[in-house]
């Protein structure tokens, strides 16, 4: 189906909920003095959006708003995922002491606005729409990064993010303009059709255009060499925002990238195997990107003492792992990516939640804040953190292991040995720094000066739910992989 604007509204309930909540919270902020209700409202909006996205699952596939966005399994999977990410970010914000004295009205407005942008990133099938959505998310992220104005580090991070983002999106929009010039259309499916005919003369410029567009995507998913902003931004931003950037905004970047590269620059063949358009071997480029990204992320993470910064480098490394599924040009690879992104949500958000509990308790986020955590009243947070760390490292029986298993299976199936070997070595390296946190929590004895760990029940409950999820999907992952399988539907008209 191909719906015009008014008919499409019935199918964009999740976005409508978020937009209404965005404007509503801003207005309500002017009226009420009990500000906590704003955060609770934002939480409801994210929950509502998740529910509405889930309800769309049975709907007919098609284009909405005159081919601006697609309603297909892929979009619905990411809408569900992204609303859950926003939900987690709002939930963490409610429990974060860092944000206590900041403007809640504006904060939740911007957070929900960013969530709206990610929805359109995942479903855009038009270059203009995709760029607008990307800019939307970027602009709101800059502000959220520097939201605590008393924090100099935050302001510095926001400025770096802004400058880097400006350059990346400038490069991207130039690349898009070249693609528009070559294909004469902004619509992904049309671009795919028009570029299908190989052209000797257009090969070099198409390659440059794709490279430039890749700069924009690479920046969003923090792929080397476009990753430079992420350690500073992750460290400087308020913790819930960091968690959101590393899960929500990154997943949206992956969704947009998959849709662009697979729908516009590839075509599906038989048996779940994809082929690139002739003369444009973008997978080679990204194989290199994947290898460098995971290696650099892991090696840099080894030397970090600030846990937030460590998780930033770990997040870069994981972008490299996820890209493994991207380059194999098969449905198995894409399925592994979706599965990995979902498990990454559980374990990474979990790690950030425990970090937030430690930060709330001791106002510190370095390794020493975790010293002997298990022996000074933090047995449960320490146990949860251990689960998340081992899962991030890819140790069985946790969800991270299954995610990596599917990624490796897809790569080995394509006989890309080099990539598989580098990724395996990287997993071993990463175990070192993840295990270091676990060792600090359990084997180091707390000093007298270390505060007794106390925590509020709702952060604890959230970490607990995520930890249980990490374990459950590590043992019984069938439903999740089935969901990923079902979501691999791209509507192409």
């Amino acid at each position: 189906m191909n719906l015009s604007s008014v008919e499409s509204l019935a199918y964009s309930l999740p976005e409508l909920i978020l937009v209404f909540a965005t404007v509503g919270i801003l207005m309500l902020d002017l009226l009420i003095t009990r500000k906590r209700i704003l955060g609770e409202l934002a939480l409801c909006a994210c929950g509502g959006a998740a529910l509405a996205s889930a309800l769309l699952a049975g709907a007919e596939q098609g284009y909405l708003f005159n081919q601006m966005v697609a309603l297909d399994g892929f979009a619905i999977f990411f809408k569900l995922f992204l609303s859950l990410s926003a939900f987690a970010a709002v939930y963490m914000s409610l429990g974060s002491r860092e944000l206590d004295n900041e403007h809640p009205g504006e904060y939740y407005t911007l957070l929900l606005a960013a969530a709206t942008g990610t929805f359109y990133m995942a479903s855009a099938t038009n270059l203009l729409m995709a760029y607008l959505a990307l800019e939307f998310v970027s602009l709101t992220s800059y502000v959220l990064t520097g939201f605590i104005r008393a924090s100099r580090r935050g302001s510095e991070a926001a400025l770096k993010y802004l400058i880097y983002g400006g350059v990346a999106s400038g490069a991207m929009v130039y690349g898009m303009s070249l693609i528009f010039g070559l294909a004469g259309s902004l619509d992904y499916a049309t671009i795919g059709e028009r570029l299908l005919v190989p052209s000797e003369a257009n090969g070099p410029i198409l390659f440059i255009a794709v490279l430039l567009v890749l700069a924009g995507f690479g920046y969003k998913i923090s792929m080397v060499p476009f990753h430079m902003w992420s350690p500073d931004v992750y460290q400087g931003a308020p913790l819930p925002v960091t968690a959101y950037l590393s899960v929500g905004s990154k997943a949206a970047g992956f969704a947009m990238m998959i849709r662009f590269f697979y729908v516009a620059l590839s075509h599906a063949g038989a048996g779940g195997v994809w082929a690139t358009i002739e003369g444009l071997e973008w997978p080679n480029l990204i194989v290199l990107g994947s290898i460098i990204t995971m290696t650099l992320g892991n090696l840099a993470a080894l030397r970090q003492d600030n846990v937030k910064r460590l998780l930033a480098y770990s997040s870069i490394a994981h972008a490299g792992y996820i890209l493994m599924g991207f380059v194999v040009l098969s449905d198995a690879g894409l399925r592994a990516m979706l599965f990995y992104i979902a498990t990454y949500y559980l374990m990474n958000l979990g790690a950030f939640t425990v970090l937030m509990m430690v930060l709330n308790n001791s106002d510190r986020e370095d390794m020493e804040a975790f010293r002997g955590l298990a022996w000074r009243g933090g047995a449960l947070p320490a146990a949860a953190m251990a689960v998340f760390m081992f899962s991030l490292a890819g140790v069985p029986p946790f969800a991270g292991f299954i995610g990596k298993f599917y990624l490796f299976a897809a790569v080995i199936d394509k006989e890309m040995w080099m990539l598989a070997i580098v990724a395996a070595l990287n997993s071993v390296v990463s175990l070192y720094y993840y295990a270091r946190i676990v060792r600090t929590m359990y084997l180091d004895q707390p000093l007298k000066s270390d505060p007794v760990m106390t925590t509020d029940w709702h952060s604890g409950a959230f970490a607990g739910v995520l930890a249980v999820g990490t374990i459950v999907f590590g043992v019984y992952w069938r439903p999740l992989i089935d969901l990923a399988d079902k979501s691999l539907v791209f509507f192409r008209g």
Binding site: V6, V23, L26, M27, L30
Partner: protein, 152 residues
């Protein structure tokens, strides 16, 4: 169409030429004997105070920023308004009106926000804490004491 804009170019050239011409002519005929007082900037007869390159107040920036947002809004609305008559003639006037209405009402929310928060007010309320000595009742917890109107 480009020809119409050639007018603009001609006017631009004419303007530049006239400026250069007048100033050149002036420099040819006027007497030239500079002195210190003469070289100072004319400021309505007042004595010149410092440099013109000073740190501007952030409020200029804030207002310019709000202006810019609504400037862009105008740029979006303008082409829609240009075709509005035609849409009404085609019987789709209500649809077009609704679309513009939604667009503007979302931005009006922004206007309401900055207005209510006092960002459009040049004279801002700034809250200063009262010193504990001034008020013994409030010495336990530093609380708001008064407002100073800052004129920038």
């Amino acid at each position: 169409m480009q020809f119409e804009y050639a007018n603009v170019l001609v006017f631009l050239g004419l303007g530049l030429f006239l400026c250069a011409f007048m100033m050149g002519l002036g420099s040819l005929v006027r007497p030239h004997n500079p002195e210190r007082k003469k070289l100072t900037t004319y400021e309505c007869g007042e004595e010149v105070q410092g440099d013109s390159w000073i740190n501007f107040n952030i409020r200029f920036y804030l207002v310019a920023l709000i202006f810019l947002i609504f400037d862009i809004e105008v740029a979006f609305i303008y082409p829609v308004v240009a075709v509005f008559k035609q849409w009404v003639a085609d019987g789709n006037g209500l649809f077009a009106l609704t679309e513009i209405f939604i667009f503007i009402s979302i931005l009006v929310a922004g206007l309401v926000y900055v207005w209510t928060k006092g960002d459009l007010q040049w004279i801002m309320k700034v809250v200063v804490p009262v010193k504990p000595a001034d008020d013994p009742k409030q010495s336990q917890s530093p609380k708001v004491g008064g407002t100073i109107y800052v004129a920038d």
